[in-house]
């Protein structure tokens, strides 16, 4: 208790500190902005080099370092020829300088020519024989050079008469004047960063021109664990996704936006808007929790669902050991690093993004209408009284489309405002966003508010900064009852029943088991009558200080915190769908409230030393210590109310109140050395030691080393001048990462006191031992091998990346299913048993065409993964994913994990003779097969058909995932086409059980009209109510789930210049329309082949607590087993939105 108090006190202190800092910083920023405003009025140039001050402390820096430093600290970007990169000159600066003075100094020393074009600074060598000349007697041509980005004029463009050395440069407004020797003279307009243009003078005296940008930014900075790297120096497997791409598809969730964007990253949607999708990096690494690690601005967070897409600068996916092992304890499932946007020095900039639209789904099952249903019910099951008793004749006139009743088209809308800017020593960005999406199933949707403030300050050698974000989210999940989805109920409901029955308590109508011979539930009642809201408040922030002790040696300390509250409110009023009987009714309202709170504090101290020796030896050393403490508190309360439906509060009647809490603590030390020789030979070595409170004392510490090497062959002398090949890099890495993703305290056991039994009319409380302790728990380790090849051709116009990986996880932290007979209430004990192997290829191909009016680019990525279970310890296999009292999925040694497992069917017995002759009649004797039932393949070949003939019948994890993005611009227009898909994947379609299973009477698909009714009538749809095996787990329900989907198509138009005619302040004004998921190519017969985990929620059933993972009775994450099983899963909708992006 005392410990907890201390923690709370500490937390409060941190929070107070955070709020105080935030308040202070905003104060400073506001004050500063007042000054900036004055400057702006004086200088009409948006970014005046003389106004931008830098605190520079560089010794013998190369040009590239220097430019990098400037880019890092300002909004400016440098564009330069490749040869400049090879310059061996070194520059030293110290103190505060304006950028203007700095560049002037460099220019003097290096004979470089700088041109500022808005935010771009173009760098060129001064050509020796370039002497601007004025030849007066020739005709004068004047004009204005602009670009799309700078419609007001592009300064500093070289204008040269072709074949001569005569030329000039455009002035600050983009105007030029040149004397052309003849009508045939050709003017060459060139500027670094832009595509050169040649224009014949002809008779014209005014030549205006729009230059197109040549976007080849040579220095791509990649965010890696605890730092950044130049893309060129990267030796690991990292996929970077630009913030723009994340924003291009309107989704309710950042992780959905990752779909199809990075090779080796599989994202599968899971349900109603706002539900997090399943993300798997490089397939399955463990049978246990496969969730990747999320790091937002250096803070490890429990989820990224609350993030606003528009705040994201970039996402980096770390996939191999050399990049993830620095996170040691949690790196084995890959790491998703998110960097949020920060302010840049200069003018205050306001960005407004807004879009609105609609989403819908047109897919429907073809169900029996009332007439067909009556015919089918009568023939197949014998007409229940409802169909024969004349008093119900009028009811049979109804024909309800239950699918239309549960589907709707939903409004989606999103609004964002961000304000950013800063001065020489401080930068800030604050943003606010609102998103709302109504789902395509009624009563589902999500809503979210986001606020974020990022700022940083430089005080001499000290840099401090903070990121703080707050998000408030509300999710209305799809409701179900008894685990049966709304779609399943919509299929099964008798079509003659009306949706509503005003006389019934609650106002809905459902079947009467006896009268209607069926018991489907009215899905509209399930969805509408219950009210479930998941409310999430998420605060993530960090404050850091960075101090340069001596040149190259920096000490950084950071406090990160996450504070999340999850608040679940549910009420299911009393109702009676069946006045004639009691098939679906409740005489009381059920009120449930669950509150969960997670707070974690991450302290990180690091020392970083970066130095270049003898020009070519680039060395960086990082030493780091990190501690994470997390505390989770849950309070669950539920009660019944027999008196009224109008009170949504918990009371003391039939109530159940419990609370739990847990703590988690981690401590880690990291050392990392990156070394490269002349950016040609690259080496990275890291070593992390981590301790986790989740393990017993003896096994707490784990060691996680990694090594990576790289060779940039293209930098070798024999290739450096090759004009075709611009980049060849060969790289490889090896390392070990860890996993401690298990619940707390599993090394010990406790007393469970949640048993009840009535004794003498009173509730007698019961308690017993929870389970079996395992004090020997230790780290699960994944050994990762990665080999990669990066290629670039024609100045990186074409880029290729290929990777091969081979991961093996050992000492898997597996819930070992205890012998059921051992009788423990926790039927599993987590043990380090088993191992698993996953390997695959990844491939990325990029093409950029930046020439001409029509410019386009293409980016293709694909990833494969092949998984094999090597060992499951005591278990030969593990089953999971229940449907109709059977398990669908199995993980077995020698097979990929989580495969569908059941009988293989081979057509339908047409005659009794066939039944008798098949496998010695054993299917008849063992499984009651008769004509009209499915024939089971003798999978084990023993000549007997029985339970042992079950076999592996499908793989729910894709062999190949891919994404293809095509973008193009033409003048003011921009286009975006984005496909993604999965191949080599199976779906277990339980809808078929409902549509054509016919185990008993309920509404079905029209297929049942063509069911087997006698020899030769059907070989695919069996007889009605046939042998139970017909509906047990089998190949009948397994379908190819491969698909290719047009995930996004959009067209935008830049109206900036038009708008500026009215108001010159706008620097960007783009309007666009886009559509998502317009078509999907697939053979799958269900509503949607993208089948993740079913996430429908039952009102009153506690959701998974924060920081927890929903597990089945055996303690295994549900998601692994349930992926790929279509239980009437929420279909991915189509959507159409229109939006506007404004910057001023």
């Amino acid at each position: 208790m005392k410990k907890k108090l201390q923690l709370i006190k500490k937390m409060t202190r941190y929070l107070f500190f955070g709020v105080l800092m935030q308040a202070l910083f905003i104060g400073v920023l506001l004050a500063h902005e007042g000054d900036a405003q004055v400057n702006l009025e004086k200088n009409e140039v948006s970014m005046n080099l003389k106004e931008v001050y830098l605190n520079v402390n560089l010794k013998r820096a190369t040009l590239v370092d220097l430019f990098g430093e400037i880019e890092k600290n300002t909004d400016f970007k440098f564009f330069y020829d490749k040869e400049i990169l090879n310059s061996k000159s070194k520059y030293s600066f110290n103190g505060e300088l304006s950028l203007y003075d700095l560049l002037l100094e460099i220019s003097k020393e290096s004979e470089l020519h700088f041109k500022q074009v808005n935010k771009n600074i173009n760098v060129k060598r001064i050509e020796k024989d370039f002497i601007p000349q004025l030849v007066l007697q020739e005709s004068t041509v004047t004009g204005k050079v602009v670009s799309n980005e700078n419609p007001d004029g592009l300064p500093g463009v070289n204008v040269v008469i072709k074949g001569t050395s005569q030329g000039t440069v455009t002035d600050i407004d983009g105007n030029y004047e040149i004397n052309a020797p003849s009508r045939e003279s050709i003017l060459v307009f060139s500027s670094v960063g832009f595509v050169s243009e040649e224009v014949v003078v002809g008779d014209r005296s005014v030549i205006n021109l729009t230059l197109q940008p040549d976007i080849t930014s040579l220095e791509e900075i990649v965010v890696v664990g605890y730092g950044t790297q130049n893309r060129a120096d990267v030796t690991g497997a990292i996929s970077s996704i630009d913030g723009d791409k994340i924003n291009s598809v309107p989704t309710a969730n950042v992780s959905q936006a990752l779909q199809g964007r990075a090779s080796g990253v599989t994202v599968i949607n899971n349900g109603s808007p706002g539900r997090a999708p399943t993300i798997r990096i490089r397939g399955l690494g463990t049978i246990n929790n496969n969730e990747p690690l999320y790091v937002v601005d250096g803070v490890i967070t429990s989820s990224i669902d609350g993030l606003n897409q528009n705040d994201i600068e970039s996402i980096e996916v770390l996939k191999d050991a050399s990049t993830t092992a620095v996170y040691g304890s949690k790196g084995s499932n890959g790491v998703i690093l998110i960097t949020t946007k920060s302010g840049k020095s200069g003018e205050v900039q306001v960005n407004v993004n807004a879009y609105a639209g609609s989403q819908w789904t047109t897919e429907r099952f073809d169900l029996l209408n009332t007439d067909q249903y009556i015919q089918y019910a009568t023939e197949a099951f014998g007409a229940p009284p409802r169909l024969t008793d004349p008093q119900y004749a009028s009811l049979l006139q109804n024909d309800t489309d239950w699918q239309d009743a549960i589907f709707q088209s939903g409004v989606i809308q999103n609004y964002d405002v961000a304000v950013s800017g800063g001065g020489q020593n401080s930068r800030f960005r604050i943003s606010a966003g609102y998103l709302s999406q109504d789902g395509v199933i009624i009563e589902t949707g999500t809503e979210r508010y986001n606020f974020r403030a990022n700022s940083n300050f430089t005080v001499g050698k000290l840099k401090v900064g903070e990121n703080l974000s707050l998000s408030i989210g509300k999710l209305r999940p799809e409701l179900n009852n008894g685990g049966r989805s709304a779609i399943e109920h919509a299929i099964k409901m008798a079509p003659y029943l009306p949706i509503y029955e005003p006389g019934n308590l609650g106002g809905f109508r459902g079947p009467n088991s006896a009268l209607d011979g069926q018991d489907a539930e009215n899905p509209v009642r399930v969805l509408k009558l219950g009210n479930v809201e998941n409310n999430l408040l998420n605060i993530v922030g960090n404050i850091y200080g960075e101090f340069e002790i001596v040149d190259g040696l920096t000490f950084k300390t950071q406090v990160g915190t996450e504070y999340t509250t999850f608040n679940y409110n549910s009420i299911t009023p009393s109702y009676d769908d069946d006045v004639e009987g009691g098939t679906h009714q409740s005489d009381h309202a059920v009120i449930a409230k669950y509150n969960s709170k997670l707070q974690s504090v991450i302290l990180t101290n690091s020392l970083n030393y970066r130095k270049t020796f003898a020009d070519k030896h680039n060395l960086e050393i990082l030493l780091l210590a990190e501690s994470t403490s997390t505390e989770i508190n849950n309070l669950n309360a539920q009660s019944w109310n027999f008196l009224t439906n109008s009170v949504e509060q918990v009371s003391n009647t039939n109530s159940n109140v419990t609370s739990t809490s847990s703590e988690y603590y981690r401590l880690g030390y990291l050392a990392r050395i990156n070394y490269n020789y002349d950016s040609k030979y690259l080496l990275g070595v890291s070593y992390r030691r981590d301790a986790s409170s989740r393990f017993g004392k003896e096994n707490r510490w784990g060691a996680f080393p990694s090594v990576a090497v790289g060779w940039r062959i293209s930098e070798e002398n024999f290739l450096v001048d090759n004009s075709f090949i611009s980049n060849i890099k060969l790289r490889g890495s090896w390392g070990i990462t860890g996993n401690d993703n298990i619940p707390e305290y599993r090394y010990s056991t406790g007393i469970n006191s949640n048993f009840h039994y009535p004794i003498a009319g009173q509730d007698a409380l019961g308690a017993t031992i929870s389970g079996l302790a395992n004090p020997n728990l230790k780290w699960e380790e994944t050994t990762m091998l990665n080999v990669g090849l990066d290629l670039g051709f024609l100045s990186d116009q074409i880029t290729v990346t290929a990777e091969y990986y081979d991961n093996e996880s050992d000492d898997l932290l597996m819930p070992r299913i205890l012998p059921i007979s051992s009788g423990f209430n926790d039927g599993t004990v987590i043990e380090n048993v088993g191992s698993m192997k996953t390997k695959g290829f990844e491939f990325t191909l990029g093409y950029n065409d930046y020439e001409g009016d029509f410019k386009w680019s293409a980016l293709l990525n694909m990833g494969t993964s092949k998984n094999e279970t090597l060992d499951l310890g005591e278990n030969e296999f593990i089953d999971g994913a229940g449907f109709e009292n059977e398990n669908i999925s199995r993980t077995a040694v020698g097979h990929p994990a989580f495969q569908f497992y059941g009988w293989q069917f081979d057509g339908i017995f047409q005659t009794q003779e066939e039944v008798n002759n098949y496998a010695g009649g054993t299917q008849a004797s063992n499984l009651n097969a008769e004509p009209g039932d499915f024939r089971i393949v003798d999978a084990n070949g023993d000549g007997v058909i029985n339970a042992d003939d079950r076999t592996f019948i499908g793989n729910p994890f894709p062999k190949l995932t891919y994404g293809l993005n095509l973008t193009a611009t033409y003048k003011g227009f921009d286009f975006d086409l984005f496909f993604n898909g999965l191949a080599g994947v199976d779906v277990y379609n339980t809808n078929i059980y409902d549509l054509e299973g016919m185990p008993r009477l309920f509404n079905s698909g029209v297929e049942v009209l063509d069911r087997w009714t006698g020899p030769g009538t059907s070989n695919t749809v069996p007889r009605a109510g046939g042998a139970p095996s017909n509906t047990q787990v089998s190949s009948r329900f397994v379908e190819n789930g491969s698909f290719a989907r047009l995930r996004n198509i959009s067209i935008g138009y830049d109206l900036t210049s038009t708008i500026n005619m009215l108001n010159g302040k706008v620097s960007k004004f783009r309007v666009y329309i886009s559509a998502q998921n317009l078509f999907t190519i697939t053979d799958y017969s269900g509503l949607d082949p993208e089948v993740g985990q079913y996430t429908g929620a039952q009102a009153g059933t506690p959701p998974t607590a924060l920081g927890g993972v929903a597990t089945n009775a055996n303690g295994q994450p549900n998601v692994n087993f349930q992926t790929g099983i279509d239980l009437g899963n929420y279909p991915v909708p189509k959507s159409f939105v229109g939006g506007v992006q404004i910057q001023f």
Binding site: P385, V590, S655, G750, N754, Y757, P819, N875, R1000, P1028
Partner: protein, 500 residues
């Protein structure tokens, strides 16, 4: 060099700053008490005992599958079209080792057993608690309750699955336990029941509370176990302790109503009490955790509700003309009930009345809380009839049979009278046996008695063969496949015969 020194210095400083955090790696679970400090107070011992009962309430047992499996397999039930596949499999004898409820049945029993073993493993600790806190008699009663329950769970297991793992202490490792012979399991059951009978309160004792096992319950169960084993003298000896201690209630219906629970005829009941809470009913397949104080029986069997099953013609036809127990057990068209007049759907001639709430409610809901009478005195009398008949005491046997028929509300002609001789003569041992079979079938209809009876009498194949019952196989359930998979001491060769 200077840099290097600074580097190391700073590094050391913050290494040290973290060192104090090492303690934080030592955490204890704040949400649960530790087994090391449990079983030290009266309340704790009481709770540990109470928990053992909870598994009786699970869906694997009396909340759902006990009545479905037994009543369906005995074909006392017939299935309506909407009956779900797993329950249909009982009717058709097509279940296999992967059947979810057959696993839940097994698991419920073993979880109860583990809880019992937990208490029994702490017997010494319990006895160390001063008598002022817990009187010795109460301690003995606790142990008695737990042994009774362990015996009952093992009796369910051995009679439903045959040879099963016999586990009598809380396992300390994840290793499995091999099967023990049927004989060994029965010996454990018998010794537990003998111990229980010695330690338990009598139902008239001050410390006895309704709902708990009593001395009478232990003897009644012991007698039943011996009878199952054909140990007639031992069975009789055990029942001697029960005879006269209980009596038949005047109205047969009072055995199946909520208001008349724990009456003079009732020897042991599985308790349900809806108002205590039912929030976890759907989640409690086997665990017994949470509030599960109701059974689905009313809703599942209810003719005005889910009506998944109805009494089979074979059962209905068993009743002698005018036997009031027909009306006591079944609803017929035109009869009145709390909601008006009975009108049976699907052209059925009868629906279950036994254990239904229609005497006071127009509709069942999911939350029936009529207790199951696991052993009632009429059953004991009929078992005594069987014992006496087997021990060649026909007069006593007929006498016991007639005691049941003389219940005021039943009041049927006695066996041995000319009137009855026309229907069920009792001149020979075999004829008396047939009368016992008949009497048990009508008296205990829908009380999960007939299927085990048919099995132990060796009649199951004759009676149920037409529905798919295979002799040598369906006398027992398959060992759940999950048990074989998770238990490293078992392989598929341990599967019950016919299920491989």
């Amino acid at each position: 060099m200077k840099i290097f020194i600074k580097f190391i210095l700073v590094w050391l400083v913050f290494l040290i700053s973290f060192n104090s955090c090492n303690d934080k790696l030592e955490l204890t679970n704040p949400s649960q008490s530790s087994p090391e400090t449990f079983m030290e107070t009266a309340a704790q011992v009481q709770a540990a005992v109470n928990a053992v009962y909870a598994n009786l309430q699970t869906r694997g047992l009396y909340a759902r599958h006990m009545f479905f499996s037994m009543d369906n397999m005995a074909h006392e039930n017939a299935g309506n079209p909407q009956l779900e596949s797993d329950k249909l499999q009982y009717l058709e004898f097509t279940f296999d080792a992967s059947h979810g409820a057959i696993r839940a049945f097994w698991e419920s029993c073993y979880r109860g057993i583990n809880k019992a073993n937990y208490v029994l493993g702490n017997e010494e600790r319990i006895n160390e608690i001063p008598d002022e806190q817990i009187p010795q008699a109460t301690k003995d009663n606790y142990i008695g309750e737990v042994k009774f329950l362990r015996a009952y769970y093992y009796f369910l297991l051995v009679s439903r699955y045959g040879s099963v793992p016999l586990i009598t202490s809380v396992p300390e490792t994840g290793d499995g336990t091999p099967k023990s012979s049927v004989e060994e399991v029965y010996q454990q059951v018998i010794s537990d029941l003998e111990d229980a009978a010695a330690g338990l309160f009598d139902k008239t004792d001050d410390g006895y509370e309704n709902g708990r096992a009593s001395k009478g319950a232990a003897y009644a169960l012991l007698g039943k176990v011996h009878l199952y084993r054909g140990e007639y003298q031992e069975a009789k000896d055990a029942f001697e302790n029960v005879l006269g201690e209980y009596s038949l209630v005047d109205d047969y219906r009072d055995n199946f109503l909520e208001e008349t629970e724990h009456n003079d005829e009732s020897i042991f009941e599985v308790e349900y009490q809806e108002d205590l809470g039912t929030a976890d009913m759907w989640n409690s397949d086997a665990s017994g955790e949470g509030l599960t104080e109701a059974t689905f029986r009313g809703q599942e069997y209810g003719w005005n509700d889910w009506f998944n099953v109805y009494p089979s013609d074979d059962l209905l036809n068993e009743y002698e003309a005018g036997d009031p127990r027909y009306v006591d057990n079944f609803y017929s068209n035109g009869e009145t009930f709390a909601g008006g007049t009975v009108s049976l759907p699907l052209s059925r001639v009868a629906g279950w009345k036994k254990y239904q709430n229609y005497y006071k409610e127009a509709n069942e809901n999911l939350y029936s809380s009529i207790n199951f009478r696991i052993i009632r005195y009429a059953d004991v009398l009929l078992m005594m009839a069987e014992i006496e008949n087997e021990m060649d005491n026909p007069t006593e046997a007929i006498n016991y049979l007639n005691m049941v028929r003389d219940r005021p509300s039943t009041s049927m002609p006695n066996y041995g009278t000319t009137e009855m001789d026309a229907l069920y003569p009792v001149g020979t041992k075999g004829e008396i046996f047939d009368a016992i079979v008949h009497e048990r079938k009508v008296e205990l209809a829908g009380e999960q008695a007939r299927f085990p009876d048919l099995v132990r009498w060796g009649m199951a194949a004759d009676v149920l063969g037409q529905y798919g019952f295979v002799a040598g196989k369906h006398e027992v359930f398959p060992i759940p496949q999950n048990e074989i998979n998770s238990n490293n001491a078992l392989t598929n060769s341990d599967q019950n015969s016919g299920y491989n």
